[in-house]
């Protein structure tokens, strides 16, 4: 075991972690950026669609281009990057890391957890059959590896992830047999749904998957009409020929490290489940422990990036690298950009949910 000391350790090199590291480095802080994968960028590299918003939110830029740019910036600032490195715990002695079988404890003044999120599973008969994959796995295959998971694909879930994945698999040459949605309306943006509809893809609302059928892998998908509670209506089953079923039923924050560290949580449905309480500096209930990105609630990458900016600036300020006035001004600007990203009916709910979360943060006397 080796003991190391750093000013700021950032865990997770996705959009939030990269931005946190870049902003902290910009002030001259000593930053160690850790990621379990062999390259930084997180899940941005599989995002080949253009982001919405204005130019300051990278609107019109494709996800992988944003990732490349952030990696370039982090690199040019001399950020110390630890890849293929698992952060397994946060202890009073420091952050526990394993790299190439070696154990390290890194004592840090400030720790920023930007661990991201993971996709929720769906339960139905045959849900463990090969050929049932997450929409994210399908995107990685098609957009990064240039491989189709299958030729005839059913997508479960009509949120933005499901709609975008369906469209991207179609761009890769797959046939999208159907998008299946439990609710009586499409979950994602109309613009994404319209692209599928124009291509003739059926989006079946008030429908559920009742079985993935096949011997060693998916050969067909059985769907049923759903009642108001989302339960299958007996006798309404029909079978769709398919070799792949993509699951896109939501995401949850990857909060294990924050739970283990002892941060306090609140359950916020709109943000994907249990999320850490934090203040306007993205600091959790534990002094010096910050959180940013999907780990604080599932959002799109531009918001994760702004949260990363705020956490990075705040941690650097707490280390004395930037004055409180300048930090407050920079954080307020980032908050403004988040607000403009979260306008509209989709964002307003999340903005309100996030403010309820902020309000429940215990305040010091």
């Amino acid at each position: 075991m080796e003991l190391l000391e750093r000013e700021i350790v950032v865990i997770g090199a996705g959009p939030a972690g990269l931005c946190a590291a870049i902003e902290a480095r910009r002030t001259g802080a000593e930053v160690m950026l850790v990621d379990e994968n062999s390259r930084p960028g997180g899940q941005l590299f599989k995002q080949i669609h253009k982001f919405f918003g204005s130019s300051e939110h990278h609107a019109g830029t494709r996800g992988y281009d944003i990732a490349s740019e952030l990696c370039r910036q982090a690199d040019s600032m001399g950020t110390e990057m630890w890849l293929d490195t698992v952060a397994y715990g946060i202890f009073p002695e420091g952050v526990g890391l394993v790299k190439n079988g070696e154990n390290y404890i890194v004592k840090a003044k400030k720790i920023i957890v930007a661990a991201g999120g993971s996709e929720d599973p769906a339960a139905f008969k045959g849900s463990t059959l090969p050929g049932v994959i997450t929409a994210g796995a399908a995107q990685t295959l098609a957009n990064v590896d240039r491989v189709l998971p299958g030729k005839k694909i059913v997508v479960l879930g009509s949120g933005n992830v499901g709609l975008i994945a369906a469209y991207q698999l179609m761009q890769g040459g797959a046939e999208i047999m159907a998008v299946v949605e439990k609710k009586d309306h499409i979950g994602g943006y109309g613009v994404h749904a319209a692209k599928l509809r124009r291509a003739g893809v059926p989006i079946l609302t008030e429908s559920v998957v009742t079985e993935a059928v096949g011997k060693d892998s998916v050969e067909a998908v059985t769907i049923s009409a759903a009642d108001a509670e989302g339960r299958p209506v007996p006798g309404s089953e029909r079978t769709i020929e398919a070799d792949t079923l993509c699951i896109a039923v939501g995401m949850s924050p990857l909060t294990e490290l924050l739970w283990q560290a002892g941060a306090k949580f609140s359950y916020v449905q709109e943000l994907g489940g249990f999320v850490p309480l934090h203040d306007e500096h993205m600091m959790t209930t534990l002094d010096g422990l910050y959180a940013a990105g999907d780990v604080t609630g599932i959002e799109e990458a531009p918001i994760a990036m702004e949260e990363g900016n705020i956490a990075g600036i705040s941690a650097a300020c707490a280390c004395g690298h930037i004055g409180p006035d300048a930090a407050a001004w920079l954080c307020a600007a980032a908050q403004q950009r988040i607000r403009s990203l979260e306008s509209g009916s989709f964002g307003d709910n999340r903005w309100a949910a996030r403010h309820r979360l902020l309000d429940s943060m215990p305040r010091k006397e």
Partner: protein, 102 residues
Amino acid sequence: MSDLSIKDHPVLGPAPVRRRVTVYYEGRPVEAAEGETVASALTRAGIKVFRTTEKTGEPRGLYCGMGRCSDCMMVVDGEPNVRTCVTPVRDGMRVEIQHGLA
């Protein structure tokens, strides 16, 4: 053998030319592109069964694609429990279905 490669893409353009390597799935040669994961190479070749479960022998395959769910674990070069979705291919690699905990 089936080939699920995306040769041309309306956004990404033609697939980049990468050095070919060969991995062996259950002793059978599978062509792969340098830099891709084992799971990607097997999927490209239409292979879906990566392991079987300990008690009932049910098949499992690639699921989360980001190293978290453990459904894609295989025996790679004799080592069990290798997460093939985050393990890059290497020329001559031996990849076997993992039965139970192997």
